[in-house]
């Protein structure tokens, strides 16, 4: 009896919240808007090398990766060989490997296996960020909800970019393009407010990233590599000086 009432009490605050899938659909909206602007530009680039709307749409739906797709367009344009395609894709998209490692630890050990085949498709910077911001184990339905909305925006944007070309006004592209960064801030700043170590970590990461973009030599490192190097370095040192308590 006491056991049951205790459980009901624990569950009831969540019961009033939206189901995870619906929350995913809702949180997918700002991602979708940001993606639309970026993928529109991607579509214009694809059109520039002679790809048609079907090809570009398939690419966006199958890859769901911004820098990765710009690289893919370059590879197709230069008619690269298979080996070069695979190796370039690995290098440009390597940060997703780190993200998947991190998110794999957010899954309940009881989660059915097929989720481990479906979730990887959803790993983009934004969806990863929101999925890891969930407290406790991740319910994959949240990730799937976000993915459906975001990939719809991503693919539609790409196709329209190919079909319509440069018709989006500059002010709209400008405004939409910061939406994704706003989301990143909404993910990292609230925990930084609660936890001074995280706040320091965020500040240090931004400073290091800023230095990487202005200092000679470091400036030449591509964005994808910069993310990998700084993540390995800063998160690695942070884990050493401030390891998690066992219950976290």
């Amino acid at each position: 009896m006491t056991e049951t009432s205790k459980k009901t009490k624990e569950i009831s605050p969540h019961a009033s919240e939206l189901p995870w899938f619906v929350r995913g659909l809702r949180d997918g909206i700002p991602i979708c808007m940001g993606y639309f602007a970026v993928s529109f530009a991607l579509g214009i680039t694809a059109r520039g090398i002679g790809m048609n709307a079907l090809q570009a749409g398939l690419m966006s739906m199958g890859m769901v990766a911004s820098a990765g797709e710009f690289a893919a367009i370059g590879l197709i344009a230069s008619q690269a060989g298979i080996f070069e395609m695979i190796s370039t894709c690995i290098v440009v998209n390597m940060r997703y490997f780190l993200m998947s490692c991190s998110l794999s630890q957010k899954l309940s050990p009881d989660l059915p296996f097929y989720h481990r085949l479906m979730l990887p498709y959803c790993i983009t910077d934004e969806i990863f960020g929101l999925s890891s911001a969930v407290k406790g184990y991740l319910d994959p339905k949240y990730t799937y909800g976000m993915t459906i909305v975001s990939v719809a925006g991503w693919t539609t944007g790409t196709v329209l970019g190919v079909l319509l070309g440069n018709i989006m006004p500059a002010w709209a592209v400008n405004a939409l393009s910061v939406s994704l960064y706003g989301m990143f801030l909404a993910i990292i700043i609230p925990p930084a407010r609660e936890d001074r170590f995280i706040a320091g970590l965020v500040l240090l990461s931004m400073t290091a990233s800023g230095l990487f973009s202005v200092l000679p030599v470091l400036k030449g490192i591509s964005g994808g590599f910069k993310v990998i190097i700084l993540t390995l370095l800063i998160a690695g040192i942070a884990a050493f000086i401030h390891p998690l308590d066992d219950e976290k």
Binding site: Q105, N174, G182, M206
Partner: protein
């Protein structure tokens, strides 16, 4: 040898998928090593911070509207934290500053 556009797309999509999938297959159990767990816990914060700055500042035509978006985004995230609100605040900031710059 260039395999043609559709085969190229298939190969590249599969490559990207495998990069994302392998960790989910390898780390099927919860990692017990304290350092690795801590490292993976910190990864999202570092990654997203590195991707946000300085990129947000240079994302628009005008560096000042980018800086304004950063400041508004930080304040909105600090005081409200709601995802949609923060994202929209940044967009509106860029739009409004764009009218004057």
């Amino acid at each position: 040898m260039y395999p043609g556009i559709y085969l190229s797309l298939l190969i590249m999509c599969l490559t990207v998928y495998c990069i994302r999938m392998l960790p989910f297959l390898v780390f099927r159990k919860e990692i017990t090593n304290r350092w690795v767990r801590s490292f993976l816990y910190y990864v999202p914060y570092v990654t997203l911070a590195v991707m946000t700055f300085p990129a947000i500042v240079t994302a628009t035509d005008n560096i000042w509207s980018g800086i304004a978006a950063l400041i508004v985004g930080l304040l909105a995230a600090w005081f409200k934290g709601d995802l949609f609100f923060v994202a929209i605040s940044c967009c509106v900031t860029v739009f409004l500053t764009g009218l004057f710059l």
